[in-house]
């Protein structure tokens, strides 16, 4: 039983990791949690479905179009829910993003809700399950796992080695100082939200064969992704990935060995324990109090 649970823990965890990365990217530059991310993810999935299945465009074309559309949607989110509220308390930004998520979810339900309950999405490769040494894996799960790792790799390189990435980190650390050295802070913010949403859409397309496409797919994933990101310290992309894997593993092991009623709550119980012992998560910075 253990090997199966470990594998499924990692594959489920990669779902959470992929969604969490979109959250962390936005946080890294703006120190704000984008609570509309679940719905940006969901809309990305529906757009890809519309392009690929309804309009019969190719898989890659649909992926690119969906990601591009999500990027635009991310820019819109930033303009509506973040820029006007830069000086407002954190809760206002959270609620504005949540409001936008209602708009997106309602719109998706009105536009696509009559198509069916949980809409299937064709996988990237339609091969049957792969058997590796007694363990069976559905190929799309490998695609998602690979996607999560590749995404993490790209972002890590981006943040540490490219100028744009360093500008984003600088903006997050001290927006005023960033402005002083000539960084176009507004552009950085807009770009970040766009990239976060685009990541969400890409994640949705990779995951859609496994999760199906429906208006409410984003919310439960957002909650787990948020938990994964916080566990990982919420500023760290590898942390988010590890957080995602941890939650996936905890869920599967608790479900397999203790009781399947515990699957959903086990991760949160562990989180409560972790945060009591290490208040800033596994990989978070030591708590620094700004005076």
């Amino acid at each position: 039983m253990l090997p199966y649970l470990l594998v499924s823990g990692l594959t489920t965890g990669s779902l959470y990791a992929l969604v969490a990365m979109g959250l962390v990217v936005v946080y890294k530059a703006t120190t704000v949690v984008n609570f509309a991310h679940g719905e940006l993810f969901m809309v990305g999935g529906f757009l890809a479905y519309t392009f690929h299945v309804l309009l019969k465009l190719g898989y890659v074309v649909s992926l690119v179009l969906a990601v591009a559309a999500a990027l635009v949607l991310g820019l819109v989110t930033e303009r509506l829910a973040y820029r006007p509220l830069m000086r407002a308390p954190a809760i206002s930004v959270v609620l504005a993003a949540v409001g936008f998520s209602f708009v997106l979810k309602g719109a998706a339900r009105q536009i696509w809700g009559g198509l069916g309950d949980y809409i299937p999405f064709p996988p990237l490769v339609a091969t049957p399950a792969i058997t590796m040494g007694g363990l069976i894996i559905v190929p799309q799960q490998l695609v998602v796992l690979a996607g999560a790792l590749v995404c993490m790799g790209i972002f890590t390189v981006f943040f540490t080695s490219t100028r744009a990435g360093k500008m984003m980190q600088a903006t997050a650390e001290n927006a005023k100082a960033a402005r002083l050295v000539g960084i176009r802070v507004e552009r950085v913010y807009a770009f970040t939200w766009g990239v976060g949403a685009a990541t969400g859409a890409a994640a949705a397309v990779l995951m859609a064969p496994l999760t199906f496409v429906y208006p409410d797919v984003g919310s439960p994933l957002l909650v787990k992704a948020f938990a994964a990101a916080v566990l990982g310290g919420f500023g760290s992309l590898p942390g988010a990935v590890l957080g995602g894997f941890s939650i996936g593993l905890i869920e599967n092991l608790a479900g397999g060995y203790i009781n399947t009623s515990f699957t959903d709550i086990s991760a949160f119980l562990v989180i409560m324990l972790v945060l009591i012992v290490r208040p800033t998560g596994f990989f978070g910075p030591r708590a620094v109090r700004r005076i």
């Binding site: 039983m1 199966y4 949980y118 049957p128 397999g256």
Partner: protein, 390 residues
């Protein structure tokens, strides 16, 4: 001080007065009958609200085009219960006291319907339930509340009996822990007890779960001959997918939430995964059946962009019952006459439900005939229709 005394007098006066009850022919004019549709329009429960209402509205539109019922057109007024007790009570009150509808046709999420029931009962307004499955919605029998939905206890009993008839000795269960799931799980456990059988495994899955490996592994350990599936389509599809993946192939028995076998096959997406899968359907047909062609065209005409689903078909079937009862109640339309016609409804064939609709004054559960279906190749076949009395 004087103001205070005046205010207190007003308050006392209000406490003594009470509002007048609504008139018996409320919601009916010379050319209109107002029917209130109560169900979820927003939120995940919209499948059992809006989509079913869409199906019902297709029927009402067609009836109106043909001249209406005894010269009156049907106007459907929808209100959102948001799958939540407080909103359901608000929606019911709004329909009854503000829109002043003649009767109600609705009821999706069970908890919402259960919460709204006392309010609806007090108003003596006829209510035909189209989707809520929990027994508490229609039990204890209320004079004006009838159901065309297959009750949870009927389906759960049918599921277990089907498995036992097919020779299963060891039976396991996988269920969801929400209100819908428990409404089916509890009667299922009672049926187990009545038959003297104990489930060999009892696993749980979350409605949005993306992986069922722990569940399948634990079920497999118990080595059952049959598994009772009390899950919504997403969880069920994920379960069947992982079962196929792990080579777990007992008899798999579903229920009416999984009634559209072709859609389910597309969701599971693994060839031959449904070989040993049987499910109950609430209605005789799936959207792709030729018999549904006319309705499909009408639905896609009235609701452009939608694709016909089994939820729409449930609405169509239920609305056929409502229209028939309204016709029989005649031109002199009152709520009591509708109640009487419902009580007298015997062997009414909608040609969409697997069996006939029969209500009696003591049994307002009018739909008692689950049909078992199986997918062979590309064809959905009915494998049997049973009648279960609660």
């Amino acid at each position: 001080m004087r103001t205070l005394r005046i205010v207190l007098m007003i308050v006392v006066a209000l406490l003594v007065a009470s509002p007048a009850p609504p008139a018996a022919a409320q919601g009916v004019t010379a050319d209109e009958i107002k029917i209130g549709a109560l169900g979820a329009l927003t939120g995940p429960g919209y499948l059992y609200g809006r989509l079913i209402m869409n199906g019902a509205e297709v029927v009402y539109n067609e009836v109106n085009k043909a001249g209406g019922v005894n010269g009156r057109k049907i106007v459907l007024v929808r209100e959102d219960d948001r799958c939540d007790a407080a909103s359901a009570i608000a929606a019911a009150k709004k329909l009854i006291f503000q829109h002043q509808v003649f009767m109600l046709h609705g009821g999706g999420c069970s908890n919402a319907s259960i919460a709204a029931r006392p309010e609806i009962e007090k108003a003596n307004i006829p209510w035909v339930v189209f989707a809520s499955v929990a027994d508490e919605v229609t039990l204890p029998t209320a004079p004006y509340i009838f159901s065309t939905a297959l009750a949870a206890s009927i389906e759960s009993a049918a599921q277990l009996e089907f498995a036992l008839q097919r020779g299963a000795k060891k039976v396991a269960v996988i269920s969801m822990r929400d209100a819908w799931g428990r409404a089916r799980y509890n009667p299922l456990m009672e049926t187990f007890k009545r038959k003297g059988v104990t489930p060999v495994a009892d696993e749980e899955m979350s409605p949005d779960a993306n992986d069922a490996t722990p569940q399948v592994l634990r079920l497999r350990q118990a080595n059952p001959d049959a598994v009772m599936i009390v899950l919504y389509p997403k969880a069920a599809a994920v379960y069947m997918r992982d079962a196929a993946k792990l080579g777990f192939k007992p008899l798999q028995i579903g229920q009416s939430a999984l009634g559209d076998l072709l859609a389910f096959r597309d969701q599971v997406a693994i060839p031959n995964a449904l070989e040993r899968f049987y499910t109950i359907s609430h209605v005789r047909y799936t959207p792709d059946d030729p018999e549904m062609e006319r309705w499909r065209g009408l639905l896609e005409k009235y609701f452009p962009g939608d694709r016909m689903s089994v939820y729409n078909i449930m609405g169509i079937a239920s609305a056929n019952v409502v229209v028939e009862v309204l016709k029989r109640a005649g031109r002199d339309l009152t709520r009591d006459r509708v109640r009487d016609e419902l009580n007298k409804l015997k062997d009414f064939n909608t040609n969409i439900y697997p069996g006939v609709i029969t209500c009696t004054p003591t049994d307002h559960q009018c739909h008692k005939t689950p049909a078992f279906m199986q997918l062979t190749g590309d064809k959905v076949k009915t494998v049997g229709v049973t009648t279960v009395t609660r």
